[in-house]
Amino acid sequence: MKFYVKKICTLFLTLFLVMFLAFTAFRIIPGNSAQIALGLDASDEDVAALMHERGLDKPFLESFVSYVGGLLHGDAGISMHYDKPVMEVIKGRLPVTLLTAFLAIFLIIIMAFPIGILTSAIKHPAGETVFTLFNQSFMAVPSFFMGIIITLIFGLILKFFSPGGYIPYNEDLRGCMKYLFWPALAIALPKTAMLVRLIRTGIQKELTKDYVRTAKSKGNNMFRILVLHVMKNAMIPVITFFGMMIAEVLAGSIVVEKVFSLPGLGTLLVSEIGARDYPVVQAIMLYIAFTVIIINFIVDLTYKRFDKRVNV
């Protein structure tokens, strides 16, 4: 019980800290976003008026409190570039990024576990070398280059999909998922290679332990030992990795969205950094940060379930 209380307190503290840091950072930067929104030839009075309207001229603490209060009501301010509430700008983009990320994680899981378990049977030194080379090659490909290769091979040469032909999810969910499969694959392949290696070394390490020999001498077959005994122990580092990986998948989708011209959070983030639309940038950053923190929190709790000895 004490463990959970402590964890939840840390969670809220971290969330608060991230909000504070993001707010401070975007507050102290040089370059006035109101000036940029109105153009360089705008009069000083107009700029001051817009700053007053958006509450940019309020004292630091006061505006931080009202910002946090707004966030709790689902209000992240007003976009300088679109002149609309930030939430409205983000709303349509969010499902694209989330769908891609979920698909990517799904692909990673269904590819990594079978491959990891199968390759753990490789013991020959030459096989080891080939495995390492193959595995590391996949890890070395940045996800956006993987996206370009996939577009070239499956899109342009084999014509399995038409590059740039994204179908909005609210028009045709099936068609949309079919298209999103490819960006998700581009994100998933390098991460799968990492996970395969982790699963493989985990299993190989566990197989040398005494309890495996005992289980074997009791007449259990290899499959049963793997599923019932070994996997459970080999899972611990895998779960830690999962927390980190979800952050990486989200980050990966920021870049990959551009390759497949998806109208997601990533493309929005990049274009708004260019347009210096700080309220939107800040909101997307916070959104991703919160997702990462909350997932890590869940991972920590799962960790405890798998290994009761852990005292995080």
Partner: protein
């Protein structure tokens, strides 16, 4: 080193050597001027005079890759050096002394470490703008926590070993213990984290340049070449493959070396 580790180490060394040769040659001489355009050479296929072909403006892709790879190498090396030096200093001191400062720094570290480096770099770019030196500083600062964490855990193990207590008995100061006695013993783990950091820096830089938020033209950059190549992917795939494979070979080579050092 086991036999298979030796093999992968040598393969890694060859790959990195190959890229390094390109980079070093690019400093002195490139076959063509990387920025000279020629209408007659638009989308020229790879040939003997242009091994990697020409791009949409008739520029020689090989020359551009050589310049771009050197930018990537410089950024990767400088950022990792910043992270390594500052991170090791912070990690060694907090790990050696422990206490409340150590506790606070490490909590902060954990939070920072859970964010993907490219996202952090984008925050920096949003705040301070783009450009080669800003990218170096941004990525360098971002890598400090990971190095600090590794150095710290190594120092926590080492500081309780006999040789450190012996040195203390002889009268070695804390400063001497940290930098003269313990530091050399962390070289193996720091070297292998150096390779991981370098790869992360290369990938982050390439991703940012790809999104046009990294180094700005006229500085050549592999990521930007990839972004420009995409429109002509079917017509001139070599425009994408040459810079892309250069990144892959660099990262693969370095990670094979780092992997064998573990």
């Amino acid at each position: 080193m086991s036999k298979e580790k030796k093999t992968t180490f040598i393969i890694g060394l060859v790959l990195v050597g190959f890229v390094l040769l390109f980079v070093l040659a690019g400093f002195i001489h490139t076959p063509y001027n990387p920025n000279t355009m020629a209408a007659s050479l638009k989308f020229a296929k790879p040939s003997l005079s242009h091994p990697f072909g020409c791009d949409n403006m008739g520029r020689d892709v090989l020359s551009r890759v050589m310049k771009g790879a050197s930018t990537t190498f410089i950024i990767g090396m400088s950022t990792v050096l910043i992270g390594l030096v500052i991170g090791t200093i912070i990690g060694s001191i907090t790990g050696y002394f422990g206490g409340i400062v150590d506790e606070i720094l490490m909590r902060l570290n954990d939070t920072l470490a859970s964010f993907p480096s490219i996202l952090m770099a984008l925050v920096f770019v949003a705040l301070f703008g783009t450009g080669k030196y800003k990218i170096i500083i941004a990525l360098g600062v971002i890598f400090i926590p990971s190095f600090a964490r590794i150095a710290r855990s190594e120092y926590i193990v080492q500081k309780n070993l006999d040789y450190v207590s012996n040195a203390r008995l002889i009268g070695a100061s804390n400063f001497r213990n940290i930098f003269v006695h313990i530091l050399p013993n962390t070289r193996k783990i720091m070297l292998s984290s150096f390779t991981i950091g370098f790869n992360n820096a290369v990938l982050a830089e390439a991703g940012m340049s790809y999104m046009a938020l990294g180094v700005q033209p006229p500085t050549a950059s592999l990521g930007r070449m990839l972004a420009e190549s995409q429109v002509y992917l079917f017509r001139a795939p070599w425009m994408a493959l040459a810079p892309g494979l250069t990144i892959v070979i660099t990262v693969l080579g370095v990670s094979l070396i780092g992997n064998s050092l573990k």
